[in-house]
């Protein structure tokens, strides 16, 4: 029986992409983008999902939204398994999960005005009368702190931060319960990043939203998240409450990541010892056996190559995948 508080439950999600070669396009291998991850997102919280570029965070977000059909595993949204749904049923559920995209320049159709972009979800799901859409769009623009007078403009007439706000307005149009934020600020200027993050936080309070916040900037994730999951090469290594993770990281990868975050205090920075990982991230086409991190882990032993570490709840609410945690 599902806990009432759990809005999204990802259960052993696997996403492999086939590599095809030759005239007949036969499959020669797979990109193991997501290799069995499980986590829950509770109502009203922000779950941060961090990791290096290429670790599979974006793929996770898209697989959850069924933009890619998962190779295996289940995604339960409010108790309903999204993987089984097709056609009309999933369209109805789409109203409750939305997405904010990373690239503000590519996520808006350049041939549509702001009004057309934001009103599209309203019209598709026939939420309001078509005569009232313009007013609703203006409301949404004000909600994301854009001047409603810009309603007839085209995306290329806006700055990156403004376009991202349009994307947020579009995501909010359907009044969703969960928003997957796929690196929404990575493409923006630092000052603009702060504005968007603050906007997202305010909206969460005002509208009771739940966020899955995918990012690679640890400082931002620390600011906005309630809980944080750390991902590496398609596998989640650690998941804990925000403060707990940043104070007591149990996984060697998390420790290394945290040591890489600069502290805005030059004296402390000078004295800090950084953990520098050796080697490169292995290719997801041929991931290391056993623990994915073992090729770069400072404490790796034989068992790490033989057995994949189990995803265990070591303390209350603190999960780790490591033999030595």
């Amino acid at each position: 029986m599902m806990n009432d508080n759990v809005l999204l439950k990802v259960d052993n999600l696997v996403q492999y992409f086939p590599i095809r070669r030759g005239v007949l396009q036969h499959t020669v291998g797979y990109v193991h983008a997501v290799d069995g991850i499980s986590f829950e997102v509770h109502k009203g919280e922000t779950l941060g999902l961090v990791g290096e570029s290429g670790c599979g965070k974006t793929t996770t977000g898209r697989s959850i939204l069924q933009l890619y059909k998962p190779t295996s595993g289940n995604v339960y949204f409010d108790g309903v398994n999204l993987v089984d749904l097709k056609g009309e049923k999933i369209r109805v559920l789409r109203r409750r999960i939305q997405m904010i995209f990373q690239d503000p320049y590519a996520s808006l159709n350049p041939r549509m005005t702001v009004e057309e972009i934001i009103s599209e979800p309203l019209l598709i799901h026939k939420i309001i009368d078509s005569s009232k859409t313009r007013d609703r769009v203006k409301e949404l623009l004000e909600l994301v702190r854009l001047n409603p007078a810009y309603i007839d403009r085209y995306p290329h007439e806006f700055s990156g931060g403004q376009r991202q706000r349009i994307g947020v307005a579009r995501a909010l149009a359907l009044n969703p319960d969960l928003i997957v934020c796929d690196e929404p600020i990575s493409a923006l200027d630092v000052s603009v990043q702060a504005q968007i993050v603050n906007l997202l936080e305010d909206l969460q309070k005002e509208m009771g939203l739940t966020y899955l916040f995918i990012a690679h900037d640890l400082s931002v994730v620390r600011h906005i998240s309630n809980r944080v999951a750390v991902m590496y090469l398609g596998v989640i290594m650690e998941l804990a409450d925000r403060d707990e993770l940043y104070k007591n990281p149990l996984h060697p990868y998390t420790t290394a990541l945290l040591s890489a975050v600069p502290i805005p205090d030059p004296e402390i920075e000078e004295k800090r010892k950084r953990i520098i990982l050796e080697g490169d991230v292995p290719s997801p086409v041929n991931p290391p056996s056993g623990c994915r991190f073992r090729t770069r882990c400072p404490i790796a032993k034989e068992i790490c190559a033989q057995e994949r570490p189990a995803w265990r709840e070591v303390k209350k609410g603190h999960f780790v995948a490591c033999h030595f945690a």
Binding site: L65, L67, M99, D103, I124, D135, E139, D152
Partner: protein, 370 residues
């Protein structure tokens, strides 16, 4: 969410402000409010189209191309006035002055079977007798009439072939890109096979085969050119659709829940179609040229039909004496050249107007990588 009144900066109360402050306020407002005036036309047809049209009427090459095309359209429309046909006959069959095999030079008199004299000729020259303005070819066909009415033939066949190949190409390319997988593979291999065939040869053979079936008319050549002319559009639009399909805004439309067919027509095709249209705009000239080539080789229309290629074919008999009978080749030849030139210039201009924008769009969309 309660509705808030539309923010209107002009509601700001200006009572009690000094003139200096009012000026400052106006300057500030001017900064904040939209600074570009958008005309009515632009609002109707959209910003993108407006920009393209504007570019087309301001680029010199484009203007020349447009003028040439306009000239030909006017000639085609005014054909009955410029070269009035004999009442009761098919205007497309070139009027014959007797049956002599000997071509007559330009400005030679019209002896028999004279069509009605056009009013502008009498007005310009004051003469009452019609002449062969461009001479006659062998078997006494009047070249002037052939050229004038041939404009109509050229435009008709060019436009028909253009539209048909575009529709077929876009359909095939869209289906291929939309379904992907095996369907895509099969269709593209068919396209490949078609493309390896030497174009003129294949069209020639098909037209020759169709002639006994369809009789002599414009149809055999038109059909042959359509059958072998759609492949480049299919390939082009398939590539563009595949590229656009991966863009974030298409993904966003799927997340919202837009149906696949609507995504294809509202998001993908409008963004993918422009390069294809650009290519198409240049091709009308080529189609007319190919049609003329087939006619020159004797395929297609009945003897005596107003068709530039056919007039040129009449010069075949006199190739050794083209010095004397230059007018059979020069008049239709120059007309053909100007026609193709006009369309090519227009196509070039369209491509130039489109290109920087396409490049900028591509740069912008790939600007952020993390």
């Amino acid at each position: 969410m309660k509705a808030t009144p539309e923010r209107n900066l002009n509601n700001h109360s200006e009572n009690g402000l000094s003139t200096e402050s009012k000026e400052k306020l106006n300057l500030l407002k001017a900064d904040v409010i939209a600074t570009r005036k958008v005309g009515r036309l632009e609002r109707i047809i959209g910003k993108e189209t407006y920009r393209i049209l504007k570019g087309l009427v301001t680029t010199p090459t484009s203007i020349i191309g447009l003028v040439l095309i306009a000239l030909f359209v006017i000639i085609a429309l005014a054909a009955p006035i410029i070269a009035p046909p004999i009442p009761g006959t098919n205007p497309y069959s070139m009027p014959r002055d007797g049956y002599s095999a000997q071509p007559k030079p330009p400005m030679s008199e019209w002896k028999s079977g004279t069509p009605p004299i056009p009013f502008w000729y009498t007005a310009l020259t004051g003469r009452e007798e019609w002449v062969h303005l461009m001479g006659t070819s062998s078997n006494a066909y009047d070249i002037f009439y052939g050229v004038v009415w041939g404009t109509r033939t050229a435009l008709k066949t060019g436009v028909i072939i253009e539209i048909a190949t575009l529709i077929i190409g876009i359909l095939v390319g869209s289906i291929s890109a939309y379904y992907g997988g095996v369907v895509d593979n099969i269709i593209m291999r068919i396209v490949d096979i078609f493309m390896t065939l030497p174009f003129i040869l294949a069209a020639l053979i098909l037209a020759a085969v169709l002639m006994p079936v369809l009789g002599r008319s414009t149809l055999p050549s038109v059909i042959a050119l359509i059958v072998f002319g759609w492949m480049s559009y299919a390939r082009l639009i398939r590539g563009d659709i595949l590229a656009v399909k991966e863009r974030d805004y298409v993904l966003a439309a799927r997340v919202i829940g837009v149906r696949n067919s609507k995504i294809l027509f509202k998001h993908i095709i409008p963004n993918a179609i422009f390069p294809t249209l650009v290519m198409a705009s240049m091709d009308i000239g080529t189609y007319v040229l190919n049609f003329a080539a087939l006619s020159f080789l004797g395929i297609g229309t009945e003897v005596g039909y107003s068709d530039w290629g056919q007039i040129l074919s009449f010069a075949r008999d006199w190739i050794t004496q083209l010095g004397t009978y230059w007018y059979i080749v020069v008049y239709p030849g120059i007309t053909l050249i100007l026609f193709v030139l006009g369309w090519n210039l227009l196509g070039d201009a369209v491509r130039d107007v489109m290109d920087p924008r396409i490049r900028k769009m591509q740069e912008a969309s790939s600007s952020s990588e993390s």
